[in-house]
């Protein structure tokens, strides 16, 4: 009897707990999205007692600045920018809720696969075509045009135009050139002038290797893809190839073959011991220990330069007066949200591309801002920071290059990019037959686009 009584009590308790769990109303309603699916999230400003919170409308914004300030100070600067916006709109009808996550692109992939899109996200990788084809993403172009934000969004206006629609605006431009160590080059008897042609670059790297003190040319692998990218831009045929999706004709083209083989030859001479699929693995050799002469990295590398090497490291653009500048994917808004939420999302984009916030992005985050109305040199001078001045120099050079092309990955796809990186890395092993490896790569790429 006693046992039955206890069982009964337990059953009732479990039932009550279950009902309570099921009945709990979610704290907020998301647009077409369903909230974070996996991954640690750090929530931004809490405005629990505001009218927005009472109305229940929340605009969730996923971003990738989850890092601790000690790990990456720029992340804190970005979070502060977001939080300022949230505070300024705390009394509005919708709560702006920035959420820092490590896997924002995974969240996008998972949601898009299920026919959803997060309310708002700062994408780290190209926006999935599936999101656009399903109409999950809001077209920002009418808003940009109506509010004359063309200069504010800068390169996004042309590069992110998909058949007359703009689905994403990146507040920082992904701008790449090269960084070189003046002291190392001088020691090898090379000048910066030598790096303005590919032939000169090859000879310069040979001279650096000749030092025989453990100093090497550059971190190949992922970096080599940028090199190939820039080499393609050196010819009209190659430039045209970067203007559209990869085709069989492009794979078979002379320009592609020449760019691959030349890059592979440089890489093989540079050695497989200086080859990595993630340039971050060897970045310290350039930024901290000064054992690498050149680094193919974005302008943001300025923030990674060790104070002891600040006088030696200088920015430049790729040989042939080429730079890579890609708007890439950034702030993207879900389609089909309530008018209030959409309005707040659009307001946030206007805020992020405003001159005031863009100046903070330049000086605080040390990235190339998308807003073209800023005077970067003036901002750098005002900051008085030597590294920010280098950043201004790097941005100015990239923006003023004779030829500016997009990152190959953003047009041809990351799977194609990975295949090329793997082929280049394998070619870096001494004795590898580059022609043979290229033929194999052509087959791989043809199959991948099939």
């Amino acid at each position: 009897m006693k046992r039955r009584w206890i069982s009964g009590v337990l059953t009732v308790a479990m039932g009550a707990a279950l009902l309570a769990g099921c009945g709990e109303k979610p704290a907020e309603q998301t647009g077409t999205g369903t909230g974070a699916e996996g991954g640690a999230a750090v929530e931004g400003t809490e405005t629990a007692s505001t009218p927005a919170a009472e109305s229940g409308e929340v605009l969730e914004f996923y971003h990738g600045y989850y890092h601790d300030e000690s790990e990456w100070p720029a992340a804190k600067v970005m979070r502060d920018i977001y939080d300022e916006f949230a505070s300024a709109h705390a009394d509005g009808p919708v709560t702006f809720k920035p959420i820092a996550v490590e896997d924002r692109d995974q969240i996008v992939s998972v949601q898009v696969a299920g026919g959803n899109f997060p309310d708002m996200v700062d994408c780290g990788t190209p926006l999935p075509q599936a999101a656009i084809s399903q109409g999950l993403v809001y077209d920002l172009k009418p808003f940009i045009d109506e509010n004359n934000l063309q200069d504010a969004v800068g390169i996004n206006y042309t590069q992110n135009d998909v058949d007359g629609h703009i689905y994403t605006v990146h507040d920082q431009v992904e701008s790449r050139g090269i960084w070189y160590n003046k002291a190392v080059l001088e020691k090898a008897g090379v000048t910066a002038e030598d790096l303005t042609t590919w032939e000169g670059f090859g000879s310069a790297m040979e001279s650096v290797r000749g030092l025989g003190d453990g100093t090497y040319g550059y971190a190949a692998g992922q970096g080599s893809l940028f090199m190939l990218n820039a080499m393609l831009a050196s010819s009209e045929e190659g430039k045209a190839l970067l203007g559209s999706e990869l085709t069989v004709d492009a794979i078979e083209s002379e320009a592609f073959a020449e760019a691959f083989k030349k890059t592979a030859e440089f890489d093989q001479a540079n050695g497989s011991d200086h080859t990595t699929e993630d340039v971050g693995n060897l970045m310290a050799d350039f930024n901290t220990s000064g054992t690498a002469a050149v680094l193919f990295n974005g302008v943001w590398n300025a923030s990674g330069i060790d104070a002891g090497l600040a006088d030696s490291i200088e920015p430049a653009i790729f040989p042939g007066n080429v730079s890579l500048s890609t708007a890439g994917a950034g702030l993207s808004v879900a389609n089909g949200m309530s008018e209030e939420k959409t309005q707040l999302a659009l307001e946030f984009i206007e805020y992020m591309t405003s001159a005031e916030v863009q100046a903070k992005i330049f000086t605080g985050v040390q990235a190339n801002p998308c807003n073209t109305t800023l005077d970067l040199n003036k901002l750098a001078e005002e900051s008085g920071d030597p590294i920010t001045m280098k950043l201004a120099d790097a941005c100015a050079q990239v923006n003023a290059a004779e030829t500016i092309v997009v990152n190959l990955n953003s047009v041809w796809g990351a799977d194609v990019g990975n295949a090329i990186i793997n082929a280049l890395m394998e070619s870096a092993v001494s004795g590898t037959d580059i022609d043979e490896r290229f033929e194999l790569l052509k087959q791989e790429l043809t199959a991948l686009i099939g």
């Binding site: 599936a130 011991d273 080859t275 870096a428 791989e444």
Partner: protein, 319 residues
């Protein structure tokens, strides 16, 4: 009398129903969970492998039609450049899981089962690396294999002076470098085996000792046959686990130098490809599921044959 019989039958019937009811009630959560979380996804994976399912129709996979229903399979088997390489590597890793990882784990478990001073401490230390995630392990091995800072190149240089290549980029060595990054981390397997070794009754060992069987003979003729079911289970786990390797490939090579794995290409097709090729990725997943079943059957067959032989020779000995 008749009434009593009817009442008895009724009571028995109710009891039987109650028993069945209990069985169903206890099984229901497992059956429901299995159906929702395993069976349904497996059926979905199989069905969508016959569908066009990519970025153009992400929420509504379309059946390719009976005429073209094997198009995804044709693409994967004859066009996709990494499939056969991935299948070969994953199968080889599964093979090594059974024939290298399990023997190593068993030998270590046998050593740990000996009553020696300090064995408990060594056992605990041995388990520590197993608490590190395979992703973190991947990063650690990336440093070990680094031609600039790692310890592997200096060892190679003892035998081959002036060797400076990155072994993760050399076809052949790269595969073994990846294998080395996971195969010897057998902590969980070793513990499972050790637990069973410890459960072998002391009387059996003593009887063997009286028959003159030394330590190694005891292990071979008494312990191993008695723990064969555990060995079979851990072998299946090791083989299927090795077949599914992903993290090591992702962190060490990204598929370079012929190191693609089946799990890695599924990600390539479904996530890395800008065309989000879910249909084709699921085709590879079907192969993965089938391969998993084949692995289970083969391991079972292997154990049945080898222990039947051993059992047979034992009987012969007794005669």
């Amino acid at each position: 009398m008749k009434t009593t019989n009817t009442a008895d039958t009724g009571a028995k019937g109710r009891q039987a129903w109650r028993r069945r009811g209990f069985i169903f009630a206890f099984l229901a959560p497992t059956v429901i969970a299995f159906t929702v979380f395993y069976l349904y996804p497996i059926i979905t994976v199989v069905l969508t492998s016959f569908c066009k399912w990519d970025y153009t129709n992400i929420t509504s996979p379309e059946f390719l039609g009976f005429k073209d229903m094997f198009n995804n399979y044709k693409y994967i088997f004859s066009t996709y450049p990494y499939f056969w390489e991935a299948l070969r590597n994953s199968s080889l890793w599964a093979f090594l899981g059974v024939f290298l990882q399990i023997p190593v784990a068993t030998l270590i478990a046998l050593a740990f089962s000996r009553k020696m001073r300090g064995v408990k401490l060594v056992r605990n230390i041995y388990i520590i690396p197993n608490m590190i995630s395979s992703a973190a392990m991947g990063m650690i091995f990336l440093q070990l294999y680094s031609p600039l800072y790692g310890i592997v190149n200096p060892i190679i240089q003892v035998f081959e002076e002036g060797f400076t290549e990155n072994i993760l980029l050399l076809k052949g060595p790269a595969f073994w470098a990846l294998t080395g990054a996971y195969i010897f981390f057998t902590g969980t397997t070793t513990l499972l085996i050790l637990g069973n070794i410890m459960a072998v009754p002391q009387e059996v060992r003593e009887a063997a000792m009286l028959d003159g069987a030394s330590g190694l003979k005891q292990d071979w003729y008494i312990v191993l046959p008695m723990i064969k079911d555990t060995l079979r289970t851990v072998s299946i786990l090791a083989a299927t686990g090795s077949f599914l390797i992903y993290n090591e490939v992702y962190f060490l090579t990204k598929g370079a130098a012929g190191t693609y794995s089946i799990s890695y290409i599924i990600r390539e097709l479904a996530i890395t490809s800008p065309r989000t090729q879910f249909g084709r990725a699921n085709t590879v997943a079907v192969v993965q599921i089938l391969a998993g079943l084949v692995i289970i059957v083969l391991v079972n067959l292997l154990y049945s044959i080898s222990f039947r032989r051993k059992h047979g020779s034992g009987e012969g000995g007794r005669k």
